[in-house]
Symmetry: C2
């Protein structure tokens, strides 16, 4: 069954305490080439049946309304992995 | 500056309570074509300077040791976005 991946990140202008914490760890490990770290979410939705435009439109709507909080997050990617995918995707 | 995206998911065989909770919401909304939902993490590491094999090897090591818990999670993707990327990547 195909899987649709939805990627959600905190809005760029917002403080990202979790990302800052990870960046702090990298700094203490001496990994100073990484100037910032941001931490978001990655959903994998398994779909029963082929993925067509209608399914993708439904996922885009769910991504905005259920899988992310539009006030503090952006949906940065939606793509299909696995069999039966008939369409390309952009977030 | 280039950004390296690291994607981490819970191991497939493990219970994913957060994913189950989201799947429950989709079910209650009548979105029954989605048979399962899994929820993982998406990191964006901003790199000061070009991304070459050495940087990617460093990120791969950090992905396994710092950005994920190898007991319960798998690193499922590492890819470069943005300028100055000179190499392709696979997790």
């Amino acid at each position: 069954m195909p899987t649709i991946v939805v990627e959600v990140m905190p809005k760029a202008e917002l403080l990202d305490p979790q990302g800052k914490a990870v960046a702090g760890v990298l700094g203490r490990l001496g990994k100073t080439r990484f100037t910032s770290v941001r931490l978001g979410k990655r959903f994998e939705l398994t779909v029963d049946g082929p993925v067509d435009e209608a399914v993708l439109a439904e996922v885009r709507e769910l991504a905005d309304s259920v899988l992310s909080n539009a006030v503090i997050e952006d949906v940065v990617g939606i793509h299909v992995v696995g069999a039966d995918s008939t369409v390309g995707v952009s977030a």
